[in-house]
């Protein structure tokens, strides 16, 4: 186990290093820079700004300086928001995205799994069809349409929730549902097909023959085994949702991290692009690692050592 973990950590560091380098090079190769603005700056003004941010150094020096700072967990100043650092931006936005994301993930997982179980137990009956049609809708309706519909109905028509902003739990419901709809639908489908597959296997028949109750069969035997594909999906999905969504955050005006993924590229805010890319990839990698660990707990046939040797 220890050997496996240390190997994984080593490969995680390597992956992050590659991500940083690739993003750094890509970023500097797109046309336009952080100070390309509609109002052209005079060459002298531009020179002063470039000197202030060390953008006049050769690229290799900028790269090594940046790497040095990363080792000290310093992601540098934002070029666009002149009084803020990338660390500030992540510290401001991430907790908000985590709150909203946790709510959405919990909603997606609990509702999704329960719906999947019900659908599987009522296979090819009305409830199954209803749940599966709802999940088709959940997968196919884009979040911005769902969000607009929720605002129209719950904020304007029945005035139950605020239309936007971020001021407490009631502000979390509509964006939470908008974020959760897609993963909820996927989780329901994965659970259902996992359940159906497991329920038709020999060990379930044996359990039934031994006279194990229906409840115990579903929860103790079938569910645990059918969750492996769900866990595989939930890991990266959680990382994605926790770091925020551009669309939902912008429609509901939530001060999360998600919008910076898009706006920083548009602004060519080099340090913010790099900083949140690193942050996001680190999260994804860590969540994938946790998923691998969760496999072992769910299915004794999977062993980490063997996998690590591959």
């Amino acid at each position: 186990m220890l050997q496996y973990v240390s190997k994984r950590i080593l490969s995680m560091v390597l992956v992050i290093y590659i991500v940083i380098t690739a993003t750094f090079l890509l970023m500097h190769s797109i046309p336009g820079g952080p100070f390309t603005t509609e109002k052209q700056l005079t060459p002298e003004v531009l020179r002063n700004i470039n000197a202030r941010y060390h953008l006049d150094d050769p690229l290799w020096k900028q790269y090594t300086d940046y790497m040095g700072n990363i080792l000290r967990f310093d992601l540098g100043p934002s070029f666009k928001y002149q009084d803020r650092t990338v660390n500030n931006i992540i510290a401001d936005g991430f907790p908000v995205s985590v709150q909203l994301g946790t709510f959405a993930v919990l909603l997606a997982v609990t509702v999704g799994i329960s719906a999947g179980i019900f659908a599987a137990l009522r296979h090819n009956r009305t409830l199954d069809y209803m749940i599966m049609s709802a999940s088709t809708l959940g997968i196919s309706i884009p979040s911005f349409i769902l969000a607009s519909f929720l605002i129209y109905f719950f904020a304007f028509k029945i005035k139950l929730f605020p239309a936007a902003m971020w001021n407490g739990f009631s502000y979390m419901i509509l964006p939470g549902i908008s974020l959760a709809a897609l993963p909820m639908a996927v989780v329901a489908r994965l659970t259902r097909s996992g359940m159906l597959e497991v329920l038709s296997q020999d060990f379930i028949r044996t359990a039934r023959a031994k006279g194990v109750g229906k409840r115990a069969i579903v929860y103790r035997h079938a569910l645990k085994n059918s969750l492996i594909p769900v866990v595989t999906y939930v890991g990266p999905m959680a990382a994605g949702i926790l770091t925020g969504s551009f669309v939902v955050e912008s429609i509901f005006n939530i001060p999360g991290l998600g919008r910076h993924f898009v706006t920083s590229i548009y602004n060519r805010d080099y340090t913010v692009i790099l900083g949140i890319t690193i942050f996001y990839s680190a999260l994804i990698i860590i969540f994938n690692f946790l998923v691998d660990v969760a496999y072992v707990l769910l299915d004794p046939r999977i062993s980490l050592e063997k996998k690590g040797d591959n």
């Binding site: 797109i30 046309p31 336009g32 820079g33 100070f35 390309t36 603005t37 509609e38 109002k39 052209q40 700056l41 005079t42 002298e44 003004v45 020179r47 002063n48 700004i49 000197a51 202030r52 941010y53 666009k80 928001y81 002149q82 009084d83 803020r84 500030n88 931006i89 401001d92 936005g93 607009s148 605002i151 904020a155 304007f156 605020p162 239309a163 936007a164 902003m165 971020w166 912008s250 429609i251 509901f252 005006n253 939530i254 001060p255 919008r259 548009y266 060519r268």
Partner: protein, 535 residues
Amino acid sequence: MSLKKLCSLLLAITMLSAFVIGCSSTASKVGVDKPLRFGQLAEPETLDPRLATGQPEMQFLLQMYEGLTTYDANNNAVPAAAEKWDVSQDGLTYTFHIRKEAKWSNGDPITAEDFEYAWKTLLSPELGSRYAEMLFYVKNGEAYNSGKAKAEDVGVKAIDNNTLEVTLQEPTPYFPQLTACYSYFPVHKKTVEADPNWASDPKTMVTNGPFTLTNWVHNEKAEFVKNENYWDSSKVKSKKLEFAIVENNTTRVSLFENDQVDITLNPPPSEIERLIKEKEVTIEPLLATYYYDFNVNKAPFDNPKVRKAFTLAIDRDAIVSKVTRASQKPAAAFVPIGLPDMELGSDFRKAGGHFYKDNDIETAKKLLAEAGYPDGKGLPPITLLYNTHEGHKAIAEAIQEMWKKNLGVQVELENQEWKVFIKSRAAGDYQVARDGWTGDFPDPLTFLSLLTSNNGNNNSHWKNSQFDQLIKQAKSTSDLAARIKVMHDAEKLLMDEMPVMPIYYYTVDYMIKPNVKGLVHTVTDYIYFKEAYVE
């Protein structure tokens, strides 16, 4: 007494006492308790006036700070932190007399030195301010910024605590208009010197405007309270301002209609028709022109007749009424509506008039034939470049269609991402390109000087020494009548040569609740909440 009755009695007592307490607190201090809530367009990039560059910063800074002058509702510069100013005979030296009663939010007096310090540090090469150019009017401002002069050579000097002497590079009759812009705001020297991160936290900010910032949640909201130390605080009505920072224009409309904000602006174009019908939007002129650049260095647009033919062959009325649909005004000149001419109340645009007839297909065809391209025959392939955006695309498509129908010219459309686009356009890597300009200060020069030969924003790369000469005169003549005349002449010359094709004058769409009073806004899109309140 039953439990239910007891509960309701307790509740009644609580509510009553809350009401009494609420009333007594209103009586204790002058001002309107109800906060004024504004839907702000974007997160400010900074709240250090020396580093600010755009509309989002401006909206905050105008409430928090005050310059030597400020604008009134008619776009005139009026005394603010300075109670008056004198101008020397040659128009080169301005002496501002700062109010003795003017104080910072912490109670310190505002001194001439605070202004000198703010302007000099803004110009210093080390600060790397993006708007340093705004202070190049001050003598040696540009030289100091580019490292060719020292700080003490810059033409701004505190004579004593209340007297600021400013020497200019050349006479600039509109200098008092400039000192109302945020780049000319003062900073509290002691605070800035003590803490390099002073502008990142409301707790460390010391400001001199009608309101002080008390809370700033990035990308979400900001709260201001009335500044009791402000010299003119008796005129400040609202005790509290609340800004919601909302970038998404549909969301801003939702907040307004759901009564979460009292004022906001720029709803999405697709909503404007409905909002006008429901009387939720008021349309005001904005000091801005939407236009296309012709690349004068590339055939066929090196020929003024071709440029003119293309300019005349579009139907601007149809563009604003059917495509943009936000009550923009069709433009038949470059300088927009809303700037004063000779006398008080006159308008530079009205005095200057129109330079061409809109949708004048006949003349356009004639000009194109004279240029050697009868019915568009013989023209090289033409590409129209714009930045990727729904609105720009719709306009470009309409114009493409008009040129095809009216001139028989086939034009290709090409779009580029914003920063890529700016780069191509500045480099002259296009034939026809979308452009637009918003005035920095209320004077026609903010538009006309754009097309001088060495201006970095002259994207058409048009060079005309006669035009440059006229602009130079307009910059230095202090005789108002002569100045206005020179600027009209310059615009006429520009429209004869037509390196740019004006399309429309922008408007700004305000959404203001009917119970909001006392709001002041200018053609440069400055919104002052100083005297505004919710009734």
